[in-house]
């Protein structure tokens, strides 16, 4: 019998900046292993599913490498899984991105794009897409991820799409952009996911990552 690895795994599926997530884990005293090995993901004590980029190529990479199956195995085994940014979208059933992309379907719902008129209403500021920068995160219920943080802490976002969960019970936090409220975190059982980048959200983000790295759901 092989020994179970102790380090958290960071899922590498060719989607952008994994270095920052690994840096933050190491800084918090929980060095993590960046891996694209499905067996290592399935066996890891906890998994961070990070990423930036587009849904279509991301899903193609995940499937080609067998990482979708590994992720399901980790979840089924009760291991904590944290999805970040594009992963917060890929866990739903379908995304409008790349002309329509079938996603992992771990939670019911779809992913839509911010759609603002290019010319703003009189007196209103023009809304830019992607939604990029610091914005407040308002938890809709208590969760260990937000332990020690007051409601409305700001986090760093970079995204053009957002999920619309079919099951209100999975919603964990909402944020607001241009009068449009969107879901900025979701959770069910041992799965939690956030639209923002905790690894780039200063002290508040480090608290969330630290909470995840010690979470025992």
């Amino acid at each position: 019998m092989t020994e179970r690895p102790l380090q958290p795994a960071i899922l590498d599926y060719g989607a952008g900046n994994l270095t920052s997530v690994a840096n933050a884990c190491a800084y918090l005293g929980h060095p993590a292993r960046i891996t694209r090995d499905p067996a290592a993901i399935a066996a890891a004590p906890r998994v961070i599913f990070p990423g930036q980029g587009a849904a279509g190529p991301a899903m193609a990479h995940l499937r080609a490498a067998g990482l979708d199956t590994a992720l399901r195995a980790a979840l089924a085994a009760g291991r904590p899984v944290l999805g970040i940014c594009i992963a917060h979208q890929l866990i739903f059933e379908h995304s409008a991105e790349n002309g329509g992309t079938t996603c992992l379907g771990l939670l019911p719902g779809t992913v839509a794009r911010f759609d603002f008129p290019r010319a703003p209403a009189a007196g209103a500021a023009r809304l830019k897409v992607p939604h990029m920068g610091w914005n407040a995160v308002h938890p809709t219920r208590a969760h260990p991820l937000f332990a020690g943080l007051r409601a409305g802490r700001e986090a760093y976002f970079v995204h053009s799409y957002y999920p619309e969960p079919a099951d209100e019970a999975v919603v964990l936090a909402r944020s607001e952009y241009g009068g449009h409220e969107f879901v900025s975190a979701v959770a069910r059982d041992n799965l939690v996911a956030v639209q923002f980048h905790p690894e780039k959200s200063g002290q508040a983000g480090l608290v969330m990552l630290s909470n995840f790295l010690t979470w025992e759901p």
């Binding site: 900046n17 920052s20 290019r118 830019k128 610091w134 200063g202």
Partner: protein, 261 residues
Amino acid sequence: MLSKRLIVCLDVRAGKVTKGVKFAGNVDLGDPVEMAREYAGSGCDELVFYDITASAEDRAIDLAMVEAVGREVFIPYCVGGGLRHVDDMRAALAAGADKVSINSLAVTNPQIIADGAAAFGNQCIVLGMDVLRVEPSAEIPSGYEVVIRGGRQRMGWDAIEWAKRAEGLGAGEIVLNSIDADGTREGYELTLTRAVAEAVGIPVIASGGAGVPQHLIDVLTIGQADAALVASMVHYGDYTCAGLKQALHDAGVKVRMDWAG
């Protein structure tokens, strides 16, 4: 609601943050990682590092510095200088940077914007623009001309048109530096900033001329910038990031105030 951003710019030369001083050459101000940590801990929302001698020395950006920042600083940071092609951008992003900034290279080879955006996403590609005020003409109707190589070479391009073209090519943000205002400490070029902000649908970061907190307030309201970039205001200890954020907040500008704890 999205907050307006306070961005600190650090010019790095031979591993030290530096500042060019007239008639005195360059003065070293400190270690980039230590300074970045201090700024991130006191309310700065984002950092920009320029390797200011890389281009002149025809070498790639100092990746060891880019990596060192990422190990200890957990807010977004952009790097520029010594990015000669898409592979240099890839290396800088893999080293931990969130964004890469290109200026003269984008003017001489605009395709690099499209190539970088296709490879890494628009949000990673920051266009740096140096702009000089000129007499309006048929060629430059706005009266703002694009210059490169630190202002030494005039391009004969209208700055507003270049901003729109760069957006179309895939630039995700613009750092807009006024050559006229830079170093004066008399305020950002508000007319230029507003003209570019109204012309494009991507964030505009105002640069050059900040001397007192009111200048930041003005450029984020009258100038319609999404972010204000500062350097010497905070490098010399005249102001802290926390103090600037408080001044913005007190003036009713929506900024992130909860950086601590």
